[in-house]
Symmetry: C2
Subunit: 274 residues, 2 copies
């Protein structure tokens, strides 16, 4: 099925699913993903957050990259000993380190990173833990069943959530295991399955996040997750860190996305408030 | 007086001032800047914040710069029509747009931007409004008296605050008025006076922020504010925006500083929670 067809199919599905929920949540007893219509408070918590967790990797010049080649080069233009201050100029790809994928990354004219509404950068954080499966199979994916399991344990997905995959991969960031190139020359790391993405497109989920190099799993030949999620106007966070420090439900994520006009994404500072 | 002497003098002053407050706040009836010793909650508010304000300028290639020359160059490496996705590589100075000055910017070996503790990136926001004075005099500076006036109106500076100058200058960002080069070839825009900085060094203030291109006012010949504040291990935010949207007291600022190893600063996404 072509990507356009996928999107059209998703749109139709969204419409029918919404109609379904609108009339019959209680009667149906269905898993009420996306059923909540009331506006949510800015913070998920009932009282002010007590703790901040940093979900951002430190970025260094040889931080692992999707394409394999170095993507950050630091050029010292001024030096304290000589000039009384230090200053670097960088050459950097937008898609380096803990970073944003804006809709414009995989569309002709979708929202740039600067156009993401502030309201979309602050959200209830949903953490889906597939660490055990990913430890056994580097090609593990977040499936619709994983979302169902989260809902069974924690209740309906919060309105306007950011849904993060915790595959345990962030621990590998400084090693070859992060890209994990196999004998088949393909990369092998976890990601979202497109069927999970279609399920999330039925909800008000604002963004998905992965603790790997790509929203798609490493061996994806076609960026199907990118091509399904981003053209729908949602965004992604790649290379998120430290998800073990936050609960599966109840935290609020604050995404310090860069605000570069026309940018397709870029390194971000991401916090969770618990 | 050499910068080292300034710092040593400030350290001595801090010690004696702290001793002073420890024993005699009530008796002295002094303006109790920095007198609070109790640890502060993460958020200034008693209830969860209801609103987020974006204190970040959009960044574009010809965003005004301190040195005058362009500091952001975007090179499109992949194009959606040809490659199925868009991606830019940037050449960018760390000190561009709404950005951080880390201690390393003006020290040989101070903290890099990646080394700023997360606890220093979330703080009570203190806004000192000098708009009326700056409208009449582009060389206006935040003075110790401005801090005293804030304290008289709002009470002691909160523990671990970030103190921002609202000079009204952010409205000029897209015009020549932002740099405001005079017939004398010097720039003319507001900043902090070093005496205000010395006063803040007696407190637990984590950072200062300005809505202009420099912590020092534009015509400063010697970066005295940079050279006093940053070597003391505190940091700065330059080019902050939208301060009119937040109250003088009571908001919490969240500074999405970049986390580049060895970086001297860099573009940040800055929010205030009200």
């Amino acid at each position: 099925m072509c990507h356009h067809c996928v999107i059209e199919g998703v749109k139709q599905s969204m419409l029918s699913r919404r109609d379904f929920f609108r009339g019959s949540v209680a009667a149906a007893g269905a898993v009420a993903i996306g059923a909540t219509a009331a506006p949510q408070p800015l913070f998920a918590q009932a009282s002010p957050p007590q703790k901040a967790e940093d979900l951002t990797h430190e970025l260094w010049e040889t931080f692992p990259t999707y394409f394999g080649a170095q993507q950050l080069f630091m050029d010292k233009k001024f030096d304290h000993a000589k000039d009384t201050f230090n200053l670097y100029e960088y050459r950097i790809s937008e898609h380096t380190g803990t970073h944003i994928d804006a809709p414009l990354h995989f569309t002709a004219d979708g929202k740039s990173v600067a156009e993401l509404p502030v309201a979309d950068l602050i959200a209830p954080l949903v953490v889906i833990d597939i660490k055990a499966r990913a430890a056994e199979n580097a090609d593990a994916e977040v499936t619709p069943e994983d979302i169902d399991a989260w809902v069974s344990a924690h209740g309906p997905l919060p309105e306007g959530a950011i849904v993060a995959m915790n595959s345990g991969w962030s621990q590998h960031v400084a090693t070859d295991r992060f890209r994990n190139v196999g004998e088949d020359k393909a990369m092998h790391f976890p990601g979202f399955h497109v069927e999970a993405i279609k399920k999330l497109l039925e909800t008000s989920t604002k963004a998905i996040a992965v603790d790997t190099l790509s929203l798609d799993y490493g061996k994806s030949p076609d960026f199907i997750v990118h091509n399904t999620w981003l053209p729908a106007g949602r965004y992604g966070i790649e290379g998120i860190a430290n998800l073990d420090a936050v609960p599966a439900a109840g935290a609020t994520i604050v995404v310090g996305a860069p605000k570069v006009r026309g940018g397709t994404g870029g390194p971000a500072r991401v916090f969770a408030f618990v």
